[in-house]
Amino acid sequence: MSGALLSCRDLAVEYRTGGRVLRAVDGVDLDVEPGQSVAIVGESGCGKSTLARAIMGLTPASRGSIKLEGRELVGLSQRELRPLRPAVQMVFQNPYGSLNPRLTVGRIIEEPMFVQKVGTPQSRRERVRELLGMVGLDSGSERQYPHEFSGGQRQRIAIARALALNPKLIVCDEPVSALDVSVQAQVINLLVRLQRDLGISYLFISHDLSVVRHLAHSTVVMYLGRVVARSSSRMFWNAPLHPYVAALKQATPTMQVLDEGYVPPPVLEGEIPSAIDPPPGCRFSTRCPHVQPQCRESYPPLRPVSAVEAVACHRVEVQADGSATTPWGVKSAPAAPLPQAGGDPHS
């Protein structure tokens, strides 16, 4: 899609360890539209964090392309990336490690503007106060140090810093995973509000499939370096086609356990295989409850199975009416068209 803000094609990140190759990210295609949120979900070893770091230029990509507003980022040096930095910023997972403990909050938020030589000291200080207000912290905070704030407040500071350069895209790497439950809601609601007011896009990395629904316009699920399912439908959660996504959903604890007639879902056995030596064929074949011989022989490509969903599974079938089904009874209805850019994912 040429209108996309961020566009990754066949992106790969490889590490060499002792003569063998670890493909942390192995051929990922991704698009983020302006004003939209894309969630990337997966467990450890799936490559989601590495993907985020490659997009941010923190880890070099081994193969493929990352285009930001049409401009290619792969292969650029840090110096060449510098003028492009304001467009893409990042919020990190650990609220306790992502802020320099020796700087005041005001200085931390001002730093991006200072480094990119934006504005005057006066205007920067104004902007710091403006940003603090945007994230719901009072202006006295600028003189305080990070250790005086709670985890949730530190993430707000990190968000304020990410906003300082007016980015078009913010990559959020598990921003709420380390926070208390009641605070997670605060931060997620803040992110949604900022998107509505400022039109920013998010690339939201998470391990929790149930949380991303509240924020994402489309969801990408990764397993062992590859995308196994992609959907821009809110009904994605209702009827996941790919067996791994279904297993993830079933394994995610929710309050559904209290409902009448709740049947505990089957527990997925086995371990996540090694990324250095992935299984031949479909990488999920070692644990998949619906595995067939063809799954072990050939890798299923990621193919669109409906207007809003793409799946990498041999056994998902596309029906004539535009829906997709699986032999074990999952049926995914043809879904509503993509929501409007900048719209609330809830509506």
């Binding site: 941010m56 230029g57 923190l58 840090q78 990336l81 510098r82 003028p83 930095r85 304001p86 910023q89 990042m90 990190f92 997972q93 650990n94 490690g97 992502s98 802020l99 320099n100 403990p101 020796r102 730093e111 991006p112 480094v115 990119q116 250790h147 990190a158 810093r161 350069l165």
Partner: protein, 278 residues
């Protein structure tokens, strides 16, 4: 989290640290103010030789083999010893920080090369190397400081490298890369300030070691011949160790007290500068 004690509260948790600080302040007072108050030239032969301490009220600590006032020597020597201790340490820290930060930040080949270089210096016995350097370049305060710095910097480099390797991975450093900060700025404004605490603690101990090294060099006659230092005094007293042992003992005790005081202060600093709970 629970409110933290202030720097001083943490420092004063060790009574030894307070004692050490008091002694150190005294020594520094003697070093700065002493020569002005007490006056005189420690090299001047003002008295009969080998007067014992307490024998003559004009010379409270007695006189040495050449009739020089021991107390005068002690006071002037304080200045020299402290100066060399601090100057050599500053130089060593500077070298160590430069080498260690480069190795720890850039890693890879640069790290390997710099660490091999560091190892070369670390494996040569400190004292012998210092002797060689001073002997080659002729003894003077500058050369002595330089020699001590050259043998003392490797531990600082290793410490700084270790800190950089750890801190470099931290999210707040990566967040600076993400906003487009240049590498030197990251090293100096982001990472280094977070290393300062262990460097200060190490440096404080290094001052003590430097004083001891200087004393050793002077004892062997490799000190600056124009300057009276505590080590030199011990050196002069070497000949008369069996009869006038006070000549070696008095400066020796002064060195010992100062070094001990610095160690205690270093211990207190270690805790006070450590940004942990309570």
């Amino acid at each position: 989290m629970i409110a933290r004690a202030t720097f001083w509260q943490r420092f004063c948790r060790y009574p030894t640290a307070i004692v050490g600080l008091v002694i150190l302040v005294l020594v520094m007072a003697v070093a700065f103010v002493g020569p002005i108050v007490y006056g005189g030239d420690p090299w001047a032969m003002v008295a009969a030789p080998f007067i014992w301490p307490g024998q003559d009220p004009a010379y409270p600590l007695g006189s040495d083999s050449m009739g020089r006032d021991v107390l005068s020597g002690l006071i002037h020597g304080a200045r020299v010893s402290l100066f060399i201790g601090v100057a050599a340490t500053c130089a060593a820290v500077l070298i160590g920080v430069l080498v260690g930060s480069a190795a720890g930040y850039f890693r890879g080949l640069i790290d390997d090369a710099l660490m091999r270089f560091t190892e070369v210096f670390q494996t040569i016995p400190n004292f012998l190397f210092a002797i060689v350097l001073v002997a080659i370049f002729q003894p003077s305060i500058t050369v002595i400081c330089f020699a001590i710095a050259v043998v003392s910097w490797p531990p600082v480099a290793r410490l700084v490298r270790g800190q950089f390797l750890t801190l470099r991975q931290r999210a707040f450093v990566e967040s600076c890369v993400v906003i487009g900060m240049s590498t030197p700025r990251i090293i100096f404004t982001q990472i280094l300030p977070n290393c300062v605490a262990p460097i200060i603690v190490t440096a404080s101990i290094m001052v003590a070691t430097a004083i001891l090294l200087e004393a050793g060099l002077s004892f062997l006659g490799l000190g600056d011949p124009n300057v009276m230092s505590w080590g030199a005094m011990i050196g002069f007293g070497r000949q008369s160790l069996r009869t006038a042992w006070y000549l070696a003992a008095i400066p020796g005790i002064a060195i010992q007290l100062t070094v001990l005081a610095i160690s205690f202060v270093g211990e207190g600093l270690n805790d006070a500068l450590n940004p942990r709970l309570g």
